[in-house]
Subunit: 287 residues, 2 copies
Amino acid sequence: MKLTKETKILIIGLGVMGGSYAKALTDKGYSVKCITRESSDIRYGLEHGMICYGTTEVEPDLVSEAEMVIFALYPGAFIKWIEDYQHLFSKGTVITDVTGVKSEVVYKIQGILRDDVEYIPAHPMAGRERSGVEFADPSVFNGANYIVTPTEKNTLEAIKLCKALGEELGFLRISELTPHAHDEMIAFLSQLTHIIAVTLMNCNDSEDLEKYTGDSFRDLTRIAKINDRMWSELFLMNKTALLTEMDRFIEEFTEFRNYLANGDGKRMREKMRSSSARRTLFDKPVK
Amino acid sequence: MKLTKETKILIIGLGVMGGSYAKALTDKGYSVKCITRESSDIRYGLEHGMICYGTTEVEPDLVSEAEMVIFALYPGAFIKWIEDYQHLFSKGTVITDVTGVKSEVVYKIQGILRDDVEYIPAHPMAGRERSGVEFADPSVFNGANYIVTPTEKNTLEAIKLCKALGEELGFLRISELTPHAHDEMIAFLSQLTHIIAVTLMNCNDSEDLEKYTGDSFRDLTRIAKINDRMWSELFLMNKTALLTEMDRFIEEFTEFRNYLANGDGKRMREKMRSSSARRTLFDKPVK
C-alpha cells in the first residue's frame, strides 16, 4: 500500500495529538474519519475542518473500510482496543500509533495482532503541554522529529508508508530506531525532563515566588503542567530505562553539589564549559 | 536626587547587561557614558546608539561628574573597583548595580563605601544566555522583574531613585526584598535552574541525541549555555542558600524516583497534579 490522497484513514482518539494528525492530513487533502469517546470532540473536529466523519461507536463498517488506522490513545487503552476490536480490521490494513513508549507496547501488540494486519509503530516527537482536541495544532510538527520503531515483524513497505505519513504531517526529520533504543532515548530526552520540571515545581512552596521569576524558571517548568494520567502510564511502561536516567542525573547533580560545597570553582567551570559546548549541538535547525 | 533626562549616568562595564541598560536609557533620551575594558565594545556601543561617550580608562573627571553610576561587572570585579576608585566619586553620588547575588556583595560594599556616597543595590531579573555587548537587547526587560534590595543604610530617596530607574528601563514589576530574601529566592529560581540545565546537558553523552530531541529538552537546557566565569562566582557567593535548594531538589527528585521504582502510579500522579496546579501561578502575565 502507498499513501495517496485516496487512502482511507481512520484515527482512533481525537485528542490533542489525534486532532493535530487529523487537521494536518485534512489540510493536505486527505479524507480523515475518526472514532473517539466524546461526541463534543467530534463536533469540534467537524467544525474545525479536522475530520469529514466521526463517531463515538466502534462501527464495524468504518473499521473494515479503513486502510490505515492511526491510534492516538493512551498506551493501555490502545492495547485494550486491539484486544477488543481487531477482528473488525480488513486483511491488509496497516495500523500505526503515536505512543510515547515503545517496547512495552510494540511487542505486546505485535504479539496479539492478526497476521494479516500490520502494526508499524511510530512516535511523533512533538506535543503540547495541554490535552484535548481544542489544543490540537499541526504546526507543532514543523521542525520536529518523527521516529519509526520497526521490529523484525515489519515489512519494508509498511516502514516506507509510515515514513511517508511523517512527511505528510510536516515533520522535519524522519528516522528509525529499534523500540529499545527509542525507549532509552526517550527516557532521557523526554521523560527525565518532565520529572525534573515536576520536581522543580514541587520542591519549594514559598509564597510569591512568581513575583520574582525570570524566564529560566519558566522555561524549565513549562512542562510541569502535565497530563498526569498519560505520563504515569508512560513512566511505568518505561520504568527500567527511566530509572537508569534518573540515577545518572542524581549522580551528576550530586557531583556538582559537592564541588560547590567544597568551593571548587574550577571544577564547576569545567562542567559549565562542557555543557555550553554540548548544548550547541541541540540548537533548533533553522528552516 | 531625582532621575531626570539631565541626570549624568555612568555605566561601568559594557557587556550584555551594561549594554542593555545603556541602550534602554539612551533610547529614552538620557545621555549615557561608560567605562569598560575593551575599546572594541566602546566602538560597538557608539555605533549602535547605546552611549554618547566611552573610555577604557578610569578618567577621574568622568567619575566625579557622574550623579548615578551603574555597575554591570562580575561581583568580584565590582568590589575591587569600589576599593580602587571610590575616592573619585563626588559627594552625593548614587551607585547601583545589576549583580545577581546580594548579601555577599551588598554588605561588603556598603561596609567599605564612603559615607557621602550611597549604594542602592538592585537585580534586574532578565538576561540572555550569551555574554558580550553585541547580545545587549533592552527588550528582555519588558515583562520582567526588577528587584531592589535595600538595607538599613539606604535612604528612601535612593530607593525611589532606583525604582524609577527600573521603570525607565521598562521592567514590568518592580519590587523590594532584603538581600537575604533575595538570595534565597534567586538560589531557587535562577541558580538551581542553571545547575539543573548544566547537569542535564552533561549526564548523557550518547551520540546523535540531538537528532531526536523535542522542545522540552531544548527548553530545559537553553540555559546550559552559560558564562562559566560569572556563574561560578555567583554560585560561590551564594553557597549556603544554593546548597539548601539543591538538597531540597535532590530529596524531592528521589521521592519521585522511589515512587517509580515501587510502581506507585497514584503517588506519581499526585505529584504531577500538584505541579500542574502550581505552575499556573507562574504563567507570564499578558501585557
